[in-house]
Subunit: 699 residues, 2 copies
Amino acid sequence: MTVPEPTSAHAAWLPAEAFRPIGARRTLVLGDGLLVETARDEVAHACARFGGSLLRRADDRASGQASDRASGRTGDQAGGQADLVLALATEAHLPAAAQAVREESGQDERPIGAEGFLLARRGEVTVVLAGGPAGLLYGLFHVVRLGEAAFGGPRPVERHRPALRRRMLDHWDNIDTHPVMGQVERGYAGGSVFWQDGGPRGDLTRVRAYARLLAAAGVNAITVNNVNVHATEAHLLTDRLGDVAAIAAELRPYGIRTHLSVNFAAPIVLGALACADPLDEDVRAWWAAATARVYDAIPDFGGYVVKADSEGQPGPFAYGRSHAEGANLLADALAPFGGVVHWRAFVYDHRQDWRDRSTDRARAAYDHFAPLDGQFRANAILQVKHGPMDFQVREPVSPVIAAMPRTRVAVELQVTQEYTGQQRHVCYLPPMWREVLDFEPRGPEGPAVAGLADELVAVSNVGDDFYWTGHPLAQANLYAFGRLAWDPRLDPAALLDEWIDLTFTPAAAGDPERLRGTLHAMMDGSWLTYERYTAPLGVGFMVRPGHHYGPDVDGYEYTPWGTYHFADRDGVGVDRTRATGTGFTGQYPEPWSRVYESAEECPDELLLFFHHVPYQHVLRGGTSVIQHIYDTHFAGADQAAETRLLWQKLTDLVDPELHARVAELLDEQLRSAEEWRDQINTYFSRKSGVPDAHGRRIY
Amino acid sequence: MTVPEPTSAHAAWLPAEAFRPIGARRTLVLGDGLLVETARDEVAHACARFGGSLLRRADDRASGQASDRASGRTGDQAGGQADLVLALATEAHLPAAAQAVREESGQDERPIGAEGFLLARRGEVTVVLAGGPAGLLYGLFHVVRLGEAAFGGPRPVERHRPALRRRMLDHWDNIDTHPVMGQVERGYAGGSVFWQDGGPRGDLTRVRAYARLLAAAGVNAITVNNVNVHATEAHLLTDRLGDVAAIAAELRPYGIRTHLSVNFAAPIVLGALACADPLDEDVRAWWAAATARVYDAIPDFGGYVVKADSEGQPGPFAYGRSHAEGANLLADALAPFGGVVHWRAFVYDHRQDWRDRSTDRARAAYDHFAPLDGQFRANAILQVKHGPMDFQVREPVSPVIAAMPRTRVAVELQVTQEYTGQQRHVCYLPPMWREVLDFEPRGPEGPAVAGLADELVAVSNVGDDFYWTGHPLAQANLYAFGRLAWDPRLDPAALLDEWIDLTFTPAAAGDPERLRGTLHAMMDGSWLTYERYTAPLGVGFMVRPGHHYGPDVDGYEYTPWGTYHFADRDGVGVDRTRATGTGFTGQYPEPWSRVYESAEECPDELLLFFHHVPYQHVLRGGTSVIQHIYDTHFAGADQAAETRLLWQKLTDLVDPELHARVAELLDEQLRSAEEWRDQINTYFSRKSGVPDAHGRRIY
């Protein structure tokens, strides 16, 4: 296999230079299997560039053959001692250093798992011992990440194993281009990386390059089409299955399984059946047959993703069936082949009457799904958005996650920055994700979300843009998502370092510390900066309807979407208490049920999500709500200006084209941040009549 | 020529039955010319249906030939005395009755004009004596409108002559369909009546039927494409001129001249010139040559319509030239052929900063154009929207109309209901138009707008919908526009009677009085009803951005469009006074300059257009602003409900399909009116904190 390095795309965190430490050394890869071959190809490719060598097994060396045709070295040189050994732990014969690692680790009873690996350094040899071919490939990318440090001095045995078994990206990509939404729904990085001109891209090199980047970040599953399954895309399940198989073939060598979003009404739309009732025998037979055909074409197919009875998509409600019955229909079809169905919990009434304050969209997922716990098949995974609303910059953690102990749950994050600046604003999201993952629904005695979730799924931020993500710095979110899904305990700042060192090292060789320091100053706090200049204190939305970019405080206030702030001349916020509001706080276990219920105990940043309070209500932080609004909005816009200035000082350390792209985006971010600041401040100043304590300019 | 009666379209105000009084009688048509032939064809067609006869000249009768092949009568019968004589006044030989009318009217020195006619009845003969072929055709349609009354008893000589020489409809139709705006910009009646599948419709019968309807209403000019001239439509001027000629051929027999919207940058876009500078010789030569080719193809071509330097369209500002220089460029190209250019005065900054209260979009047209008065060619017509903003339900009359005494001015109305219910709401507009036409910019001593305007132009509300206008009752606006452009003194209620009697007579034969009474109750006050439940007191907008349907009070409040209301917790409205505001009131002559400047003298219905006042400000009508808002919104929605009930009682008098269409639309109107009521009331209640004096429900 040719290692994919398309010239039409930025190298992101896998520039050639990142492979120098391996490519300049001698590496032995032991084992069989597709992913082991991928690892071998990667090593050979690096060696061809940097002069190292891919060694063969000892018996190969004995015959005196050249180590690898692609190697820059001669057969003689290749015959020396390996600097790096990558081996399956099950190999019969291992070099001495690897054998020593295996013996030492043998006392640890914890299994490594097929995706896990051990890393150690014995003498002059760095050893990766993998539980399976995927683990070997992940081990290789881990060594790439370590760089020269992988080869410096002794290293005790480390165990690496993904915390979550599935680390998945959902692509909201369509084959066709929608006149308003574009090709990728909520995509801010150009067209689809998979689909073009009505089918899969002719040249799929870029798809394979994407798989390679994702494998290096730890992702192992992708959904290749939008959860809103439109007419054309519905056919991917049947007569256009070959299109999916073509993409799956590109993802497979990097250990990424392909999943498909399907339309719950497919038996009607594609099969000409009279209904899609999950208990109808013809429907069940149709899904079983369709699924068998999928596995004929794609033997390692991952499964289906379904958005049902949501925002106009069809679902089991039409037949008086529960969502468990709907999900189990597909789970049963997939079970014989080891596939899974991801069933989205994003079900709510999107035709709400704003005049009816008793309906609360935040309640909907719990109300629908909590009663169904225990009714889902083992291969049905409930995919729950991390917050109860819709990927706002600040939400409480969804109460559904803790309410489904007998159901497999995937927590859904949004890497694409729909509500967080649409990849025009710098907004490094891992600090938010860590807050979600660290949240303890039952308090310090109980497990955190990271322990409750079986999987992490995120909506991808990738398109066919040269930098993959529109905003070059948004690559960091994609990278960090994969890494956090592998290990939710990783520190966002450390992940940013990983990303910076891999991505910028060559260009920043002159002064890597300055580059790193500046990027941290720009990105570490960028999520909080974005929060400061947008909707305050967890109240959410206040965006332009439809495209969701830029401020419009009342944009959703009188719409059917259920996203309100109820600001009047006296106060603002949504009363979701049990005492006087919608009762949403009751969906949480203790202590949060009590904490959120109380306007005094509720964390400041979520106050307006849970309570309607007067503008003069004093926050735990000591300022009034109205003064907090003014203060944070002035501060947030100031920080956007500061971020822009910081970047201007990096011209000497960053590729000029990338620098220019980011500089242009930072201009827009500042313009937009000032627009947010002024609209929000003016709106609340006009409404409350309270002047800014510091006399700053409000229009 | 075949009289066009397409089955794909409603007959509107020309049902077959309307021709019975003529078609059952003997008619003599004397004169030559295309439009005289059209009149002859119309009469023959009616006679074929109702048994009357089209008579030939006396010398024809002497030869004993049959009157007309299409006639239902025999030659013998056709030889009798005419009941109706339609003749050009210049005919050498007239029947005795017509001769008597000519002699009597000869003492009146006022010319009839080519479009005018005399109407009289002498003995048993009704006589139309026309100044030209167009006048003869208008005379025929006038007799149709009179029905049996045209043939009952003596009638002294009446002079009929259009008050305005050009009575024009602009079609904002595109050849291509825009993914969001559709094919017709601001169109609410389906696709274009002219364009389909990338070119003129294959079957143009409907275009001719449209021309016929318009001729019967008095319209004599049409622009066949959108003033926003997109890429495809730009080519209508050159290589797609044949498409325009094909449409012009259908409009010509009914006396309607074809005009074309052109792109000011056409010399660059179509001619590959380096610029479109109006003073550049190559540019002038290009326009001269292009225009000569247009007249080769369409000898009676009307001229160009131009939207320049407006909402992104190119214009003379790019070259540092004035709009007079821009308009004169095209006027000079058209002058040799007798054509005119309509130059739109809708020029303003659509990238305004809402934070800058010194900029006032209302001022823009006057600021741009008043200094140019006297600089425009005689065949350049400044086309001025009736209000200073953009077709809101209530605006003051544009001060530009009185500011251009040495310029030919066309006043632009909007028949398409962009801001007045989008042909889902009943909104009979002539009462608004009469207010505009009757407005006396210099007070009672000076002329009214109807006397200042050289022309009336309106944006058409027609599409390829079966009923032409989406809402069947919106036909009345189209009809009345033509009639008002012919005679601005006509009474809106009387025009509604004309329209009702022509359109509904056959179906309502059982009880025409009940039908007429009910439609008056539904329509006479419908404009005021719409005003009541939408934006109050002249403040305007408060609609959903983009599509402009339904309420969104702050929808445009923080946008670059210059359409603000500045509501805060204390008050609402735009200060456009000279004393403390934008100074817009200074663009009016006395007495309005003084009247509008004063919050006490300013008419209530325009108060918030000119003044920012506290909610407790007491209107001239005696209630406070806030109570007025509540009262009118409850009343408006109640009236929408009443309108709906009135229609339900007409099932026996109206065609069932038409009844069902209107009933469905009235349901939507009521839903929307209640939404407006509740959003506006809630918005101002939340902001002002003032309760409704009558304790009605506000959310």
